[in-house]
């Protein structure tokens, strides 16, 4: 049997397609991006080696304002971890108790996850439309004309307005993961705690939340790396405007690379994004580990 499992040519053949794709589409391009990021290059003229100049410009240029884009991503991260995830957890806890209609609520809350982000983006563009969007129409009809705004065009509200649809879309996703986690907590534990006289909120805090910590960790990693990568909805709603107010790293990357042909500079953003994704995933894994120990 082991002879069959040690069959070298077979191992090679089974791994070959995956290895080709993984190396060809992911590993080699990362190396190339790193290489480009050290050059000044627009795709047509010769590449000029500039060392770390792209990175320095990235963090010092006030016209491109990459730090602002990063800060927006961090803001998004915080909103996601401290507002979206707790709310998802609350919904999951409420539904996991097996209330009447839980199945229906669960299914409906998950619908936005399945919708195309383009559909969601176009829909929210219409919701926010300053003249005919339901948000302003609703405010007008209840006599709050002074509250109406050009939501996505106003530098004060654009960032929050652009993030709300994403938070709205993925709440159901995190809720579903947590819900499944809570349902897998053995029923006996809950019953034992009830017999010992624990209240509902004590059971939630002392038993269920500690038991689903691994899942909360996954949710935190997904939402934090998701915040770094966020692109679709921002691109559709504002594409970084007005005046960089809603710029995030990936919208900046796309406009640098494909509108201004600054390939080297755009690659520097890509490299920083990869680095940050690894870094935060590592930090989160580590910090959750020490708490458990």
């Amino acid at each position: 049997m082991n002879r069959i499992y040690r069959n070298k040519p077979a191992i090679f053949l089974f791994l070959l397609p995956a290895a080709i794709l993984f190396i060809g589409i992911i590993i080699v391009p990362i190396i190339m991006s790193t290489y480009y990021s050290l050059h000044d290059w627009n795709g047509f003229s010769d590449m000029k080696f500039v060392g770390l100049d792209n990175y320095i410009e990235l963090f010092t240029s006030t016209t491109i304002n990459f730090p602002k884009a990063l800060l927006n991503a961090v803001f998004f991260m915080l909103a996601s971890v401290f507002i979206q995830l707790p709310f998802s957890l609350l919904l999951a806890l409420l539904l996991a108790k097996g209330r009447k209609g839980s199945r229906l609520f669960l299914s409906v809350y998950f619908i936005p996850v399945l919708l195309s982000t383009v559909v969601i983006g176009q829909l929210w563009l219409k919701i926010y439309n300053p003249d005919y969007g339901i948000l302003n129409v609703a405010l007008n009809s209840i006599g709050l004309e002074s509250w109406t705004k050009v939501w996505l065009g106003d530098r004060g509200t654009a960032l929050i307005a652009a993030f709300i649809p994403t938070l709205w879309q993925y709440t159901g996703y995190h809720m579903l993961l947590m819900y499944a986690g809570i349902r897998s907590v053995p029923q006996e534990l809950r019953e034992a705690a009830l017999i010992d006289g624990a209240s509902e909120s004590q059971i939630n805090r002392r038993i269920i939340i500690p038991m689903i910590k691994p899942i909360i960790k996954v949710c935190v990693i997904i939402s934090v790396t998701g915040a770094l990568k966020v692109f679709d909805l921002i691109y559709i709603l504002t594409n970084g405007g007005p005046a960089h107010a809603t710029e995030v790293p990936s919208t900046l990357l796309v406009s640098m690379m494909f509108l201004r042909n600054r390939y080297g500079f755009g690659s520097a953003i890509a490299v920083i994004l990869i680095f940050l994704c690894f870094l935060v995933a590592y930090i989160i894994r580590k910090s959750f580990k020490t708490e458990v120990d």
């Binding site: 409420l94 383009v118 003249d131 890509a270």
Partner: protein, 291 residues
């Protein structure tokens, strides 16, 4: 001792009245959030049947008084929506097929076969999940344009498959570990080769996990925007996402037809979800937790 027990108990037995108010609060919250999720869809559905006069003032949130089916005619006929559908279908379908085959082969090598470096490769797969697609967008773009392969199905299928592989492989490994090795041994005694074991033992046993991987890959691929919008600029190859995005850019004043296009794009997913919601929930969980 007895007193203590009594105290503890009184702690959790609530008066029926308090219990009742709490339940009302809970259901109010659940229903409000339900409406927050459904209302945009309802609004989209109704304005897809209205003309501008109704959308822009006469009848903003009610059901349409006259149902303007011509919105759907112009969305479907003039705007090539069926073509975009077909493109998305081809791209997503082939991505799923390729991902399933390639990831299952890799999972077999990583889960069953014995070789040096298996652990290292395994952790590389886990690492692979964190890599953002931004990492390779420019190099792939440059290679594609050099090979004159922008605006083709493969320009999307190949990168999508590559980025779907990590999660798919991990899901498959998770399922494969639960298949008893005795089955392999029995097949081996019956004279099966490695390939035979893979095809006649592992593959049939893995059917449920194929649906899981398929659904998970579908959700990622069907909605992808960044690669699609940069690699494709000919309408013949637009996927649904790019097509609708472009459409909406050119019809900013005509909400009805755009609404119709959005409904048409959403409808199949919702129908599929209505029938498969349990399986879809399972797949999403497997995809996130196995990783």
């Amino acid at each position: 001792m007895k007193l203590q027990l009594f105290n503890k108990k009184s702690n959790h037995i609530r008066s029926p009245k308090k219990f009742f108010t709490k339940e009302i609060l809970v259901y109010t919250l659940l229903i409000i959030w339900l409406l927050v999720n459904l209302f945009p869809l309802y609004w989209m559905f109704t304005f897809s049947f209205k003309d501008n006069a109704a959308i822009f003032g006469e009848n903003v949130i009610g059901l349409p008084q006259t149902w303007h089916f011509e919105n759907y005619e112009s969305a479907l006929g003039v705007n090539n929506l069926p073509r975009f559908f077909l493109n998305s279908f081809i791209v997503t379908g082939l991505t799923i097929v390729l991902t399933v085959i390639i990831a299952m082969m890799a999972a077999f090598a990583l889960c069953r076969m014995i070789w040096k470096g298996r652990k290292v490769v395994n952790s590389m797969v886990v690492l692979g999940m964190t890599i953002p697609i931004h990492a390779s967008i420019l190099p792939i773009f440059l290679v594609l344009s050099k090979l004159d392969m922008l605006n083709s199905y493969q320009s999307l299928i190949v990168p999508y498959t590559a980025f779907a592989l990590s999660v798919a492989t991990l899901i498959f490994i998770g399922f494969m570990q639960d298949i008893p090795k005795e089955l392999d041994e029995a097949a081996c005694i019956d004279g099966c080769s490695v390939w035979g074991i893979f095809r006649h033992v592992i593959f049939p046993m893995m059917r449920p996990s194929i649906a899981t991987v398929g659904i998970f890959t579908f959700i990622q691929t069907w909605n992808e925007l960044m690669f699609a919008i940069i690699f494709i600029n000919k309408a013949d190859f637009f996927t649904l996402t790019v097509g609708i995005q472009t459409l909406s850019g050119s019809y900013t004043r005509e909400w009805g037809p755009i609404g119709a296009a959005l409904v048409v794009a959403t409808f199949p997913t919702i129908i599929a979800y209505a029938f498969l919601s349990k399986k879809i929930h399972e797949s999403v969980n497997a995809g996130a937790i196995k990783g």
